[in-house]
Symmetry: C3
Subunit: 428 residues, 3 copies
Amino acid sequence: MSQQLRDSIYEQLSSLVLIDPHTHINALNPASETLADILGYHYYTELAHSAGTPKEQIEEPGLDPKEKVGRLVANLGPLENTIQYSWFIELAQAFFGFEDDKLTDSNWEALYNTAAEKMGQPDWPDHVLAQSKFEAVFLTNDFDDPLEGFDTNKYIPCLRTEDLVFHLAKPNVRQRLKQATSTSVGNAATLRTAIGGVFENFMAKNVKACAISIPPGFAPEPISDARADSALTEILIKGADAAENQQRAIANFVFWTLAEYCDEFKLPFDLMIGVLRGVYPTGVFQGQDLYDSRLSLIQYKKLFNAFPQVTFPVSVLASVTNQELVSYSWIFPNVVTSGHWWYSNTPTYIQHDLAGRLEAVPQTKQIGYYSDMYKLEFALPKFNMYKRILAKVLTERFCVDRGWGEERAVNLGAKLLRGNIETIFNCG
Amino acid sequence: MSQQLRDSIYEQLSSLVLIDPHTHINALNPASETLADILGYHYYTELAHSAGTPKEQIEEPGLDPKEKVGRLVANLGPLENTIQYSWFIELAQAFFGFEDDKLTDSNWEALYNTAAEKMGQPDWPDHVLAQSKFEAVFLTNDFDDPLEGFDTNKYIPCLRTEDLVFHLAKPNVRQRLKQATSTSVGNAATLRTAIGGVFENFMAKNVKACAISIPPGFAPEPISDARADSALTEILIKGADAAENQQRAIANFVFWTLAEYCDEFKLPFDLMIGVLRGVYPTGVFQGQDLYDSRLSLIQYKKLFNAFPQVTFPVSVLASVTNQELVSYSWIFPNVVTSGHWWYSNTPTYIQHDLAGRLEAVPQTKQIGYYSDMYKLEFALPKFNMYKRILAKVLTERFCVDRGWGEERAVNLGAKLLRGNIETIFNCG
Amino acid sequence: MSQQLRDSIYEQLSSLVLIDPHTHINALNPASETLADILGYHYYTELAHSAGTPKEQIEEPGLDPKEKVGRLVANLGPLENTIQYSWFIELAQAFFGFEDDKLTDSNWEALYNTAAEKMGQPDWPDHVLAQSKFEAVFLTNDFDDPLEGFDTNKYIPCLRTEDLVFHLAKPNVRQRLKQATSTSVGNAATLRTAIGGVFENFMAKNVKACAISIPPGFAPEPISDARADSALTEILIKGADAAENQQRAIANFVFWTLAEYCDEFKLPFDLMIGVLRGVYPTGVFQGQDLYDSRLSLIQYKKLFNAFPQVTFPVSVLASVTNQELVSYSWIFPNVVTSGHWWYSNTPTYIQHDLAGRLEAVPQTKQIGYYSDMYKLEFALPKFNMYKRILAKVLTERFCVDRGWGEERAVNLGAKLLRGNIETIFNCG
């Protein structure tokens, strides 16, 4: 009985047309060209590598896409239990009529060929979006992205800011900033002007969010112009060799300035908190980052208090931080929960974290899910995974445990999936 | 089948008459006078504020109770998913015959009026206690509370000690201490005497516990009289401007002295560990506190070892600390698990934390639940929430997973709800 | 229906013959002689002590085994809810035909006598292994254990290394090392030689793993020979009074050297991370250790990167570290998840942690369970507990949530229970 209810809630949630509020889609090349784009997703390469496949086999320069897929398929056996493997099977079934539940030596070539043919059709990206029931997806754009050549209502710009905050000491970042804004950065004032120029560029192109991923040790605080001036002086001379405290001062100055512009331009500022880059430096491409779960949102106390008008959709990398996220969203009007990020994007952690949020964070302050995908084909299986867990939690914890009716449960789910995206990001 | 078992266990647990081992009830005015007292509970004001209601609307000076309720009702929509909202609906249904499952523009006034009439009856507090099946509730009393004018067997005093431990530098705290104990504090010896006087005052009034809430960074340790003398010297001169290390020394001295008196007077010492006050200083009344979950019970190693005869009922604010609580209670004879506090007082965290405790902490060392309420009407829905989760965990993890019979499961639940309160606090 | 599936999966998993990859069995005396060996397991003594039994009653010198059991039985009432109590009941039922579900004043003596009789039979250890369906168990051997007098294919040696890493400052440890390896340690070079001698001794006796338990603050790093030389100089003079930084330097040097030999001899290096010894120093034997859950696997970044050819089966003491373990095993080819250790070896934490692993760690990289037992009789109830939870998680999260067939689920379970032990430890 409760299984029927789960299925029914899932079906109703599946009828919604959605907007994906965070992806890494390249708007000029949004979908895959071959299965190599699908199986080249870091989840497959890093898991295959973790299970024993040498990096060289996967990342051989000039490797033919079909050969790459063949090599990966031969190494996917150890991954068949993972949820990531199930994403692949589900999308292969949905888009390419794949009928098996495992990818094997004997069925992969036919799938490869079918996929290549379908992907080669000119309207493939739009077909994927339509079949997956998405009307738009957010992008992740470098601060100097020209944002041209695509429909910004379908591919919605989002200003990604790690380069400005954490890498301003690199000469080429400052060079790109100068080129993008016609402003040469020499001190705090010109830096602020340049960042303002970036925002103006993006505002002209329908930007709907500013975003950044942050290491666990960062704790934003305001920096005076004078302090920023002296830090910049050293950084302009020494570049990445500048003292760590100077680089941190500039990181804080830029971060705070971004928040000020988010305030001015009424943009939400997505915080993705907790990643450590390059923990396994000899890992495969994009498979080198991990984390230290010992962080606290108390590190954001000053920020959340200083910008009451800026909405901060917060993602945390580790499930152990989720209860803090629930509590901070329950207290701070400007903090909202945002999706299930990366290492927490697996059913067990989604289920536990989602349940915690649904019970104690106002229903208007929860961004249910984003796919984080690089290619459009992944929205379908990732969102389906989430919808199944959402249907499970709504059934078990609201309908069974709390006596809710089905319609009420579906309405709550719909807010997380669609309604809140519109209101929080002012889109759709 | 297992749903029937859950229901049956819940019903049997619901037949018990209970003692609530921790509340903030004012014994001289224990129940609500209007719905404004109910909806004025910080859970509603802070969640409404978090969802967008301006603080000024909620906390306007001189606001008429009915007007306040009207304003809150207009802003409760975003909270309808929360467990806190369900507490309100359940108590409205139980006490006032409310028949809807949402509070709306069109039904709140009738409810307000019905409630006001019932609350106006002279025996309302006793009626609430009886209907909720409580024979007594613990209070939270300032150290200088005269504890007069009420039945201390029904409203059981509990000595709350933050003022003494963390705020002794404030002149008015020392003034109140002098008034309450006729002892003027000038050094460690007189401070010890004064605190002893507080205990004597409380012992004369049926006190059953000493209690304190503690910030995450605190780590109790003994302080010599000489060290306390020098710290006091500075504090008596500079007050709250005394150096942080002096204030910490006195905090430790007072804390340790409290434990010594708990030992002497055989009082349990409730430790509520982990809260940071004023993280969101412009939040609504009682809606400003949060936490940093990075703490460990290892900070209490010296304390637990130094006072083997003092029972420490320990509450932790974050679910990530619960496994440590389980383990420390499993090893230390004087540590017992105590309730589900504040930000962990929602079904998902209660369920996970309770299950961990039930499997590894001796059944005699678990205080199941306390309401933490400010008004008597909240014991019913809060304890009902807990009993439902308790019935669920007993059914799923003991009857289904471990083959227990129903009676055995109910007996275990009854210990957590009632039996252990009697033995641990020597009451009932 | 899903209960039937659980039962069926459990039955199939129960048909496997297993190898227990970590125990504290004494190969020369592997099984119990009386019930006092069973109830003397620290889980029972520490829990009985925690529930109020004086240590003196339990640890009275020269106490007769039957008297000891009688005293413990009288104090087990408070533990009847614990999973540890259920281990006892299950093994008593399985091995001794016990028919009750509680141990009482009136049934314990008969059980004691039956057990003593059975345990007195000459083939009792083999009978226990056969009935429990184990063909071999790993040991925990001191570095100077002669490893003689038993079948090392049934009782597989494992080199335990805390003494070398953390206690080399103790003269008797160095004395034992000299005796075992005929090498007198005077500097880094001779220390390396001596440790090599230990490995050679163990390699000659079918050793299959090196293992160590580690306090939460440890963060392995390489130490130069010169630095080790100067540290050793001080340690050889001052022993355990040597400065903490010198002792840490030697701990790191030895630890790193162990990893080098694991590399050379192709031995997995079991890391059991997080224990603090002697937190409750007046507790019962083996009932004094606890932990501080604030640790991160980032502390092992250097180690995991430096030894890509060494497999590190990692156990963590607290469930809050499990997600890091999942993520690090998902990224690092040489990190595998290992069992559910000590304070995390209870159903709620096993279930949550296991589910997280099954969804995101390659199925070839998961060591499902080890018993950690001191006497053979405990493998049966502990592994049964684990198999039940494994069957539950496979049923609920794979068959129900993800549509897997029963056979596929059983195959995954079998890898965790048996197949991976063979491949990871090169045994069986």
